[in-house]
Structures are given as structure tokens and as C-alpha cells.
């Protein structure tokens, strides 16, 4: 069979794109990176530390509103054609692979499991499931006496969910029944065999199930982003440009509006002036030289490990326990979700490497059920481990090695995998601290993070029930052998928002209680996590905080007393052509 040869990556075989000075974001989107560069001595309006899910949205909003804003990113500014590959082992550089120490009774694997490095952050390698949190998530303590309440309600974030679902955009069913029912702007995706298995298993057991989303992957092309080609390498970064990452959804618009991204630049310390306000950030450039960028306001968006680490490493007179830590809660209440992988072998072929890992789920067990012996709940989702990940799962789930492992692997195409996504509650002993060992420093000499994680009774009961339920669904789907591996997914908390400066790091907009012009805005602000993937909520919170910063800009810059009113939604800040495109409003 002969395919037409063409220079376009979409025409089949093609050669390396010419180095034309343009930067590629997907096969069609080419941008030239502006030469604008603020000088260290310029006092910029905003410095954002970490251009990931939250940082990318904040950068775009603040630039569009006309502010001087610099996004610092420890990793590279990807050129997706040259830097990314359709290959499991070759994608190792997408992750935060620098040393971190893990401990506690149930240590959390980091790196490729949950930590991005590079512009786009974790949204580069997320599977892109984008369920909303449920109204109950914002008042877990009030309802169940566990965890914590959020300082905001579902209604405060709902309009931002709608905005971001259009900006990414999200594909999914026209009627999504769980939480507060809603629709999606893009059509649901076709099912791969793993999604089919989940639908079959759930249906036979009378469990409601959602097919084809919600997932932030294009089911039809939009602008210069092609639709999904179902190649299955979502979590190795989407070369197609179909999966949303802030690198391709928000960063281009940010650059167009004068934002600067300073990549391969590692922020090491936030400086506090004599008046107690942040004056800027110290950072190391790619060559390891140290600089200081002045700023009127600093926003930390480094995710749940690097955000607390930076604040702890910024300890200074008056903030001996770390910046923004008068409450003692910085680095505490770290959360990951139970992410057990349930693997089922079928007599017939599955080929789970096809289609996005994320394409069907059920939230039937999301809410607290008084008939169960634990609070809160879980979701069951499709996953699609590629060969290396699957081999390791066979090792963990079946204790295999040698000929047994070779035998299981020869049956790779007969296996399907589901992921449990279970809510683990926030606990004070799940922490991010600074490591103290002499060798536990990064290449800049900064102490690395030490992450401690322990499951509690409610978590263990929930995992046991959720694991068994997921295995039941796999059996009902027709699997002849079902095994499982216990693991974790996602990473939030450790700089939580709250109503009081005594038990939280920041207020409901992410402003730290201790420093007027220092904000935290990323997954680390979450008081609880539900059993929804956090990406959509992280980006929605960031869009809300951007509106707040814009509305209260002069008060934030001057330290004057600020309003704590909801800012009112600015609908003019979306990237062009995204707002109000095709969302069926369910009123």
C-alpha cells in the first residue's frame, strides 16, 4: 500500500521539518517565540512560578488583560515535532525526574506517575479525563464530618468549568448525569475495546456509565488543532495536538499578548522585602547562574510538591518555618487518589494500545453511601497501559518474572485495564518537607522534597470496596482472569485554601494569609479532591483567580484592603474563538 508522500506530517511518511526558526505546537500550529524579554531589574506586574495547568491559564489571562507577566518554568519550552515521540521509553524527559525522597507507610511514587516538567507541566502527559467536582466535594466536612470544607461552593466555580470546557475543549456526552448534570461542547469519542469492556461490565451490573468522555481531546478538528487519531500515546504527550495541554491551548495566546516564558529557569527562593511583601524571585538559568527578577506580585504554581518546597526553601527572618506558614499547615494534607489498576484477561482480542487511555468512566459510586462503612467514594475509569507499563503491572499484580512474565506479555493484546479513582481524605501526616541529608540536594544545592504518605482507615476501607467493585465489573465484562495492582494517581493539597488563617495557607482566591502579594494557585490549594481527575478544576480555579487579580489589581499592588467578593466573570479573556462554541446549556 502506498501512501502519498508529502511534507505535511498529516500526509503519511515525512521528513524532519526544516529549521525555519518557527516553533511547532502540533503538526499544524507554528508560532514564533517572541523575543520580548524583561530585564531582571524591570519590576514586572506578575511573576508566575511554573507554567503548567494553572500557570498556563494565569499567564494567558493576565497577559490578555494587559499586564507585564513572566512565567518561569524549570523545564523546557517544547517543540512538539522535534521533542516528543510516539514511544513509551523515549518520553521519559516529560517528567520531573530529579531526586525526591519518598517515605511513610504507603510511599507515593512520583516522576512519570504524576509530575511534569516543561511548559504545559502535567497537562502535557495527563490522560485528559476532565470530570467536574460534584457540589458535595465543597462541603465534605459539613456533610460527613471528615476532611475539610472548601471556602467556596460549586456555584463559585461552575461558570469557570463552563469556560474551560470550551477553551480546552472537552468532548463528552450531551447529558452527563453525575454531580450537577451538564453537557459538553464536543462530541463523545468512539469506543476502543477497553471502553467497550467497561460499558459491558457496568451495564450487566446495572451501573450507569459514560461513554466517550468527558475528556479534553478533540473529537473533531478545531482551528489549527487536528482531531484525535486514536494512537493511544496520550500520556506520552500528544504529538497530534488533539489533546489539550496549556502549552497548546493557552500559551500561544499568552505569547501573542506579550507574556514572557522564561524556560529552563528554576526559581529557588522568593524574596521578602522590609515591608513584609514579596519583591521578586531568585532563579537559576540554564547555565546554573543565579539571577533575581523583580515583581509586584508573585504567584506560585509549581504543583503539590514543588510549591511547598519553594515556600519552605524561602524561609527568612519573620518566616522561619517557611513562607506563608504561620498556620503550620504548609506541606501538610497532601493527597493522592487511590489509583488501583484492575487488569482483566479476555479470551478475545482487545488491543488496549488503541484509542486514548481515557475514554469511558462511571461516577455511580462517587458520593457517600450510608450503607457502606466509609465516607466518600470512587470512580472507575478506562486506562490503557502500553507494553512497559503493562509488564511492570504484571510483575506487581501477579508476582511474575522469567518465563511467566514472557508468557503474560505474549497475551498483552488480550488484556484490558480499568483504573480505580478513589478519594483519599486530607490527613495532617501526609506531608511535603525538605530533605535533610547531605546528598539530598538538587544540582543547584537546594534541599529536595521529602514526601511522606500514609493511608488511614477510611482510605483503606474505600480502596478495598472500590477495588472489589472494579474487579466485579471486569468479571461482568467477560474477563476470564482478573488481577490488580495497588497504586496512586494524581497529587493535590499541601498548601490548602481555607476560611481561616489558622488552618490554611491561602484564602479562597489563593492569596497567602501571611504575605499580601504572594499567591498560590495550582493543585496544592485543594482542601479535598473528590474522585475526579483534578486537571479541569485546577485550570478553572486559575481562571477564577485571574479574574480576581484583574478586578483587584490596584489593591493587590498597593497592599490596600481588598474585597473578598466573587470578582464577576470576564468572558472576554478566553483564547479567540473558544467562548460559547457549541455548549448545550442545560437549564
Amino acid at each position: 500500500m502506498n501512501w502519498p508522500h508529502s511534507k505535511s506530517p498529516l500526509g503519511g511518511a515525512f521528513e524532519e521539518p526544516e529549521h525555519d526558526g518557527m516553533h511547532r505546537l502540533g503538526p499544524m500550529q507554528r508560532i514564533s517565540i517572541p523575543r520580548r524579554r524583561f530585564r531582571d531589574e524591570d519590576v514586572v506586574d506578575y511573576v508566575i512560578v511554573g507554567v503548567g495547568s494553572a500557570g498556563g491559564v494565569l499567564l494567558q489571562r493576565l497577559a490578555r488583560a494587559g499586564f507585564d507577566v513572566v512565567g518561569f518554568e524549570a523545564g523546557p519550552f517544547w517543540d512538539t515535532e522535534r521533542d516528543w515521540v510516539s514511544d513509551e521509553a523515549g518520553s521519559h524527559n516529560l517528567y520531573w525526574n530529579d531526586l525526591r525522597i519518598i517515605g511513610g507507610k504507603d510511599p507515593l511514587a512520583l516522576g512519570s506517575n504524576n509530575s511534569g516538567k516543561g511548559v504545559g507541566g502535567g497537562s502535557v502527559h495527563w490522560a485528559a479525563f476532565t470530570p467536574r467536582f460534584h457540589p458535595s466535594d465543597f462541603e465534605v466536612y459539613t456533610r460527613d464530618g471528615v476532611g475539610a470544607d472548601w471556602p467556596i461552593d460549586y456555584e463559585d466555580i461552575e461558570p469557570y468549568y463552563e469556560l474551560l470546557e470550551q477553551e480546552m475543549p472537552v468532548a463528552g456526552p450531551a447529558w452527563y448525569p453525575w454531580g450537577k448534570p451538564h453537557g459538553h461542547p464536543y462530541a463523545p469519542h468512539p469506543m476502543g475495546a477497553v471502553g467497550d469492556a467497561l460499558i459491558t461490565g457496568c451495564t450487566r451490573l446495572g451501573i450507569g456509565v459514560s461513554a466517550g468522555g468527558p475528556v479534553a481531546i478533540l473529537s473533531a478538528s478545531r482551528g489549527d488543532r487536528p482531531h484525535c487519531i486514536y494512537r493511544g500515546f496520550c500520556i506520552q504527550a500528544c504529538k497530534v495536538g488533539a489533546k489539550a495541554s496549556t502549552l497548546i491551548t493557552h500559551v500561544p495566546d499568552a505569547l501573542k499578548h506579550g507574556a514572557e516564558i522564561r524556560d529552563t529557569s528554576m526559581v529557588s527562593r522568593i524574596e521578602i522585602g522590609k515591608d513584609g511583601r514579596a519583591t521578586g524571585v531568585h532563579y537559576f538559568d540554564a547555565e546554573g547562574r543565579e539571577h533575581f527578577q523583580r515583581a509586584r506580585c508573585v504567584i506560585v504554581s509549581g504543583y503539590a510538591i514543588e510549591t511547598p518546597r519553594l515556600l519552605l526553601n524561602s524561609a527568612c527572618p519573620g518566616h522561619e518555618r517557611g513562607l506563608a506558614n504561620s498556620s503550620g499547615t504548609l506541606g501538610k494534607y497532601l493527597m493522592a487518589q487511590a489509583g488501583n489498576v484492575i487488569l482483566g484477561r479476555f479470551e478475545e482480542l482487545i488491543r488496549m494500545y488503541k484509542a486514548p487511555p481515557a475514554h469511558a468512566l462511571t461516577e455511580e459510586f462517587y458520593e457517600t453511601d450510608p450503607t457502606r462503612d466509609f465516607a466518600r467514594g470512587f470512580a472507575i475509569q478506562t486506562v490503557g497501559p502500553l507494553p512497559i507499563a503493562f509488564a511492570k503491572q504484571m510483575m506487581a499484580a501477579k508476582g511474575q518474572w522469567g518465563w511467566g512474565l514472557r508468557r503474560s506479555m505474549m497475551d498483552y493484546n488480550h488484556w484490558a485495564a480499568f483504573g480505580l479513582l478513589g478519594e483519599i481524605l486530607p490527613w495532617a501526616d501526609n506531608t511535603v518537607e525538605l530533605a535533610t541529608g547531605a546528598n539530598e540536594k538538587d544540582r543547584f544545592g537546594l534541599p529536595v522534597a521529602r514526601v511522606s504518605f500514609n493511608l488511614h482507615e477510611n482510605d483503606k476501607r474505600l480502596i478495598e470496596f472500590g477495588k472489589n467493585k472494579t474487579m466485579d465489573v471486569m468479571r461482568a465484562a467477560g474477563a476470564v482472569e482478573v488481577v490488580q495492582e495497588q497504586r496512586f494517581a494524581h497529587l493535590v493539597g499541601a498548601a490548602r485554601m481555607g476560611k481561616s488563617p489558622h488552618d490554611s495557607v491561602c484564602d479562597k482566591f489563593g492569596r497567602t494569609w501571611d504575605v499580601d502579594n504572594l499567591f498560590v494557585m495550582d493543585g496544592s490549594v485543594m482542601p479535598t479532591q473528590g474522585s475526579a481527575n483534578p486537571g479541569l478544576t485546577i485550570q478553572s480555579l486559575a481562571a477564577r483567580t485571574a479574574d480576581y487579580l484583574i478586578s483587584n489589581h490596584s489593591a493587590i499592588q498597593s497592599g490596600a484592603k481588598r474585597s473578598l467578593e466573587e470578582p464577576g466573570i470576564r468572558k472576554t479573556l478566553s483564547p479567540p474563538g473558544t467562548f460559547r462554541s457549541g455548549i448545550p446549556h442545560l437549564r
Binding site: 514511544d87 517515605g103 511514587a109 516522576g111 488491543r351 512497559i388 511492570k392
Partner: protein, 251 residues
């Protein structure tokens, strides 16, 4: 064993099976035939794996001998023709020499490099202690019994040496590294019927495990592991181990 016979047998006849260019149930599938349909960056990364391995930089010659024997037991390749065996040690050696980390280290584990050096010493010490011979000169069964004791977290010997790290975690690290080398190789993708890189072409037939026009349906055959091996088993109870070292994200 003669040149072209593998130690595997046909379960119906008991006859030895021939060594294969390509074991597994997809004898016609060659992922490298598709390379023209991959993007340039991916092509470079994958074809590099087919080049002759680079000389070792981390392991000494003596350590390499032990590690080679260990990896031959973790992922045995006696069913492959010698020229078609996938190099594992060079991949591990490069990772350790270039300090390519997984992004975390357990508090009860030394750095990966120290863990491997210690394990090589401890394996030889175990072999001497129990069998009075170096690890590389043991029979397959003896080597596997020692390794099995590690997989269970209760080393059969050299307890003093092993006490300085968490043995189960080391086992996970070792098997993970072996898997990462073997299943990154295009020949392994041929063996398991994995479609491989799929950009910019993508997949069209998502349903019911159906093959693309360029893929193949499987042709299964039965095989029995060698009589002197104890590794063809599954222990579903071991699913209670903590998260695997180096696990890639799934959701």
C-alpha cells in the same frame, strides 16, 4: 542443547521447539516495516535501539557477568535465535552511568547505583554461602531459587549484606529495569503484537481488538517452559506489594 533448539517444548508432543527469529503469536508482524509512517523524531529514537550496544560504562567486567546472568533469568531469551536476542544490560548500564532517575527514591533504599553494586556482591556471596560456587557457574535452577528468595523479600543468604536495603524494593527495581529495556525494543513489540508508534497515521479500527489493514491476527501455539526453570508461575497474592518503582502514570 543443539544450536537451533530452544529449551521450550510443545505441550502436545513433548518435542523441543525450534528457536525462533520471533517468538510470540504474531509471526508475520514486523513493526519496523512501518517506520516510514512514523514521524522523524520517533524514527530516530526507535532505530537507535537496533544499533550495536555501546560498551559498558557503569558495571565492571566482573559485575557485568553476574548481571548478565541475572537478566537472563529475569527475562530469559533462549527461545530466540542468538542474533535476535534483545540486549538488556547495556540499557541498564547506560541508565546508571548517566544517572537517569525515576524522579524519586524510597527512604529505605540507597541510590540505584549503590543498590545494584551491593546486589551483585550479595548475589555472589549468597551463591558461595549456599552452593560454594560463584553465581555465574550455578545451574539455572539454583540461580532461580536464589532470585525467587529475593522476590519474596527473604534472601536465602548473605543476610548481612541484604540488610542494608529493602530487598522487595530492590527486586521491583531490577524487574522494572529489565522490562523497560526488553519491552522498549521493536522485536519485543513484534513478539507481543503491539502496533508501535502511530503518528501521524493513527488507528482506524478501535473495536473488538480488530487489526488495522497493516496488522495481523494472532496465530497461537502452546509452549512449556524449560524443565529446569521455576519462573513460569503466577502468584496473585503478591498483588499486595506497594506501588512499583518506576511505574508510569495511567490516569
Amino acid at each position: 542443547m543443539s544450536e537451533n533448539k530452544s529449551p521450550l517444548t510443545d505441550p502436545r508432543t513433548g518435542e523441543a521447539l525450534p528457536q525462533r527469529v520471533q517468538p510470540g503469536y504474531y509471526p508475520k508482524w514486523r513493526v519496523m516495516r512501518e517506520y516510514r509512517y512514523w514521524d522523524a523524531a520517533t524514527r530516530d529514537v526507535v532505530t537507535q535501539r537496533l544499533e550495536a550496544p555501546k560498551p559498558l560504562r557503569f558495571f565492571t567486567a566482573e559485575e557485568a557477568g553476574v548481571m548478565e546472568a541475572v537478566l537472563d533469568r529475569i527475562l530469559p531469551q533462549d527461545d530466540r535465535l542468538p542474533a535476535q536476542r534483545i540486549p538488556l544490560l547495556p540499557v541498564l548500564d547506560t541508565r546508571l552511568a548517566t544517572n537517569k532517575l525515576e524522579g524519586y527514591r524510597y527512604e529505605d533504599m540507597p541510590p540505584d547505583q549503590e543498590a545494584y553494586r551491593l546486589a551483585v556482591r550479595a548475589l555472589d556471596a549468597m551463591a558461595q554461602e549456599i552452593y560454594g560456587a560463584p553465581f555465574i557457574s550455578l545451574t539455572v535452577t539454583s540461580q532461580e531459587l536464589l532470585l525467587k528468595s529475593l522476590s519474596e523479600g527473604h534472601p536465602a543468604g548473605a543476610k548481612e549484606l541484604w540488610s542494608t536495603l529493602n530487598v522487595k524494593r530492590f527486586w521491583t527495581l531490577l524487574v522494572s529495569d529489565a522490562c523497560a529495556a526488553y519491552y522498549a525494543h521493536p522485536w519485543a513489540w513484534d513478539e507481543i503484537g503491539f502496533g508501535g508508534p502511530a503518528y501521524p497515521r493513527g488507528y482506524m479500527r478501535l473495536e473488538a481488538g480488530r487489526p488495522e489493514p497493516w496488522e495481523f491476527n494472532e496465530e497461537r501455539y502452546g509452549w512449556t517452559a524449560p524443565a529446569d526453570s521455576i519462573s513460569d508461575y503466577a502468584d496473585p497474592e503478591s498483588g499486595h506489594t506497594a506501588s512499583a518503582h518506576g511505574q508510569a502514570g495511567t490516569h
